[in-house]
C-alpha cells in the first residue's frame, strides 16, 4: 500500500517580548566571550516540525488545526507567541 502523502508544517514558538529570557542573556554574554562583538540581544525559542497526514484538508482548515495545536500544547499563551507555517 502506498503510504499516505503528508504535509510538513512548522510552528515557531517565541517567548513574548516582555518575558525575560535568561538563557538568551547567557548566550549573548558567551558570544561576547568568544570574541563576537556587537551582539546586543539574544532570544531563544523553539521550532516544532510536524508531519501531518494529507487527508485533503484545505490549507485554511490545516492552519486552524495548527493554531489549535499551538494554543493547546505547543506554546503556552501566557508567556509565548507562536507562528505556524505550512511548507
Amino acid at each position: 500500500m502506498k503510504p499516505a502523502a503528508s504535509i510538513r508544517a512548522t510552528v515557531i514558538v517565541r517567548l513574548k517580548p516582555e518575558v525575560l529570557d535568561p538563557q538568551g542573556t547567557a548566550v549573548q554574554r558567551a558570544l561576547g566571550r568568544l570574541g563576537f562583538q556587537g551582539v546586543k540581544n539574544v532570544r531563544i525559542g523553539k521550532i516544532v516540525e510536524l508531519e501531518i497526514d494529507d487527508d485533503g484538508t484545505s490549507a485554511a482548515d490545516l492552519e486552524d488545526r495548527l493554531e489549535k495545536m499551538a494554543k493547546e500544547m505547543l506554546a503556552n499563551p501566557v508567556i509565548e507567541d507562536f507562528e505556524a507555517k505550512i511548507s
Partner: protein
C-alpha cells in the same frame, strides 16, 4: 480527611508527600496513577508532588496536563475539593489552567536548591495565619512566577497571593526572592473557595524535625483542620 497523591512518571517528591500526610499528619493516604480516570471516591485532598513529570519535555508540566487523571483533578477542584501542587505540581496546575500565570526559567539561570523563607500574605485553607513566616526548601530551575499585570492585580485584590519570599523576619524584599518571581510570589490560591494552592517551596521536605525543621507541617495541619466538619 482522605488524601490522594498523584503519581506522574518522572516525579520524585512523592515519597516525602505520602510520608508527611500519612505518618506526620495521620491522614489516610492513597496514591493514584496518572493513567487513572477517577480519584478514590473519598478523596478530600489531591496532592501533586514535585519532580520532573515527563522529563519536563516541551515545558514543565505541559505533557502532564493531558494525562488521563487531569479531568478528574479539574472536576474535584471545580467542586471546591482541596488541591495542593508543589513545585512541578504547581507548574502542572498552571499549565492545566487551574491556576493563572506561568512558571518560567529562574532569573539568574541557576537551579536554586536551598532553604528560603516565605511569608503568608493571604489566608486560606492552607495558610490560616497572616504574617506567618515559614522556612522551607526550594529545588527548581523554573520557578519564576509570571502573569500579566491584570492577573497580578486580581491575585492581589482577591487575596490569592498566599506566599511571598521574605527574609527570616518577614520582610518581602528583592534580596529574598530566589528566582525573580513577579511580586516575590512563592505560592498562589485558586479555585472557587481558595481550595487550590500551588507553591514552589517544598513543605513536605520540612514537615518533621528529622528533616531539619517542621514549618511545612503547618500547611498540612491547616488543611486537615479546615476539612473538619464544624
Amino acid at each position: 480527611m482522605h488524601a490522594t497523591v498523584v503519581l506522574f512518571p518522572g516525579i520524585n517528591a512523592d515519597a516525602e508527600m505520602v510520608r508527611t500526610l500519612r505518618d506526620v499528619c495521620g491522614v489516610t493516604t492513597d496514591c493514584v496513577s496518572h493513567t487513572a480516570t477517577e480519584l478514590p471516591r473519598s478523596t478530600d485532598l489531591v496532592a501533586i508532588p514535585g519532580g520532573f513529570s515527563y522529563g519536563d519535555y516541551l515545558r514543565c508540566g505541559a505533557i502532564a496536563k493531558v494525562a488521563p487523571i487531569l479531568d478528574a483533578i479539574a472536576a474535584h477542584a471545580k467542586n471546591g475539593g482541596y488541591v495542593l501542587g508543589v513545585c512541578n505540581g504547581f507548574q502542572i496546575l498552571t499549565e492545566a489552567g487551574l491556576l493563572p500565570g506561568a512558571l518560567t526559567r529562574n532569573e539568574n539561570l541557576h537551579f536554586r536548591c536551598h532553604d528560603v523563607f516565605v511569608k503568608v500574605t493571604a489566608t486560606g485553607p492552607f495558610s490560616p495565619t497572616l504574617g506567618d513566616v515559614w522556612r522551607m526548601p526550594i529545588a527548581h530551575g523554573e520557578g519564576r512566577y509570571q502573569a500579566s499585570p491584570e492577573v497580578l492585580e486580581d491575585l492581589e485584590d482577591e487575596g490569592r497571593i498566599a506566599l511571598r519570599y521574605s527574609t527570616a523576619t518577614g520582610d518581602v524584599i528583592d534580596a529574598a526572592n530566589p528566582n525573580g518571581s513577579a511580586m516575590g510570589i512563592a505560592g498562589i490560591y485558586g479555585g472557587p473557595r481558595k481550595n487550590i494552592l500551588g507553591l514552589m517551596p517544598h513543605p513536605e521536605r520540612m514537615s518533621d524535625l528529622l528533616q531539619g525543621g517542621d514549618d511545612g507541617r503547618r500547611l498540612f495541619d491547616a488543611v486537615v483542620a479546615h476539612a473538619q466538619p464544624l
